[in-house]
């Protein structure tokens, strides 16, 4: 049973490149274009094994998304990776405090991304 990954980013290029890259690595991929849409998808029953989210997005950014996602049932221990250009230490600390699993600065090579996913998602 392939693992499901939810990709959240407002950039269509990012979403498409990540989706293809992860599908090649054998994952099933769900997508959302901002934090609010991702939150709606989680509420409608999608249970991803891992979430990769951007930080700076319209409507709802990554930090708020992590905050709200952690309060949903069954989402307390789901790994959440932030994949962003944001390098401010304060943001990193805030994401960590809210329960993010890791922080990745764009761009990240496909090999590195899969390596990190296998680290945080045993059995992937």
């Amino acid at each position: 049973m392939p693992k499901t990954i939810l990709v959240v980013d407002d950039s269509v290029t990012m979403v498409m490149s990540l989706k293809t890259s992860l599908q090649i690595a054998g994952f099933t991929v769900e997508t959302a274009h901002d934090g609010q849409q991702a939150l709606d998808k989680l509420k409608t029953g999608i249970k991803p094994d891992l979430i990769i989210t951007d930080i700076n997005m319209p409507r709802m950014g990554g930090i708020d998304f992590i905050r709200h996602a952690r309060t949903l049932p069954g989402m307390r221990f789901t790994p959440i990776l932030a994949l962003t250009t944001e390098s401010q230490q304060a943001k990193r600390d805030e994401a960590k405090k809210l329960g993010a699993t890791g922080w990745l600065l764009k761009p990240v090579s496909g090999a590195d991304l899969v390596k990190v996913i296998k680290q945080v998602l045993p059995g992937a």
Binding site: Q88, K96, T101, W103, L105, G110, A111
Partner: protein, 424 residues
Amino acid sequence: MTVLTEQRRKLAEASVQQARSLRRNMAISTVLGTLLLSLMVYYTHELPTQLSQWLGISEAAALAALVAIALLGTNFLAGLVFFRISYRNAGSLCRTLEELDRELVKTETQLQASRSAMHATADMDQAFQGFLQQNLQESETSTLGIIERTGRLNQAAGKLLEYLQNSSDNASTMAVDIQQGVEDMNKIAGFVRELPDKIRQDAEVIHHILQEVKQLEGLATSIKEISQQTNLLALNAAIEAARAGESGRGFAVVATEVRALANRASTAADTIESGLSQALAAVESSLVDSNLGDSQHHLEKATQVVDAFQKLQNSYEEMRQFYKSLFSVVTQHNTELAEEISDMLGLMQYQDVEGQRLTRMTDTLAERCQLYADVEHSPIGFKGLTEDLQQLLARYLEDESRHSHPGNRNKTNATDAGPNIELF
């Protein structure tokens, strides 16, 4: 209309007004002077005579003195009037000039402020230029990376094709071997299929011969028994012939001949029995030989079968190894291709990084445009613009510093942005 244009217009109007005033005063004073002199001459035409008598000078000199006094008085009055009018006009002109000076000072100040704002704008443009240059470099790096990976993908695909071509050739050779093995196996299968019938036919023939031989053996025994009984009868006949004496002599000869015949029959029966035994032995021997021959033939066939099976097994093993190796190579190539494609897709993330940077730049440019627009309506004009532009640039640079710059990661201050990958 600018303030300076207004002042210049006022100055020009004041000058024109002064000129017009002078012209008007000149005309009025000329008319008044002429009228005054005419009245004076009209009402004082006896005054030169009285004055010449009173002063004791000639009448002409008195007239000249009166005209000179009248002209002097008239000019004095006209000068006084001109002075007052000119003084009033000059005051207005001075005020206009003072206003113009003030405006010029203000304009100079604005010019200084705008020059300073231009410097701030140039600084900002320089910063933009730096980041645009960085964008260009990263875009170029990303494109070159994609081209390089595309080349590698092409090479990997070429290698795979070459390997598959070689594999196809090897598979053809193996297919010939396997076809040969299959043909051998078909021959063996045909032989094995016919073998039971052949064995059965051979067994029937042998059984038939044995039956025949056994029947002949019984016949020989019967002949032997007949000859024994004949011999016994001949012996009795010889005894009876001897007892008969001379009359039985001829019968004795017959008895002797019969006895000899019986003995010969017995000998013949023995010979037949012996011959049959030999024939049977010969058949058995032949059968044994035949069996041995067949066994040899079967052994050869069996050896061929074993060889054929061995060959087939070898071919199968080669084919299995070949496909295992092919699968391994194809899997490896597939993994490499997937990694290359994945890396290539990773390079697409540069587009997002650059897109975000350009968005921040265009946002800042929009703010700058707004600042320029605000200057027009601002009471302090350009004065605050430089400061606003400097603040805007500082905010922009601070915002940029909070975002990752892949091109700067190898530089000395790379650690400022934190590790590229951090797991909490």
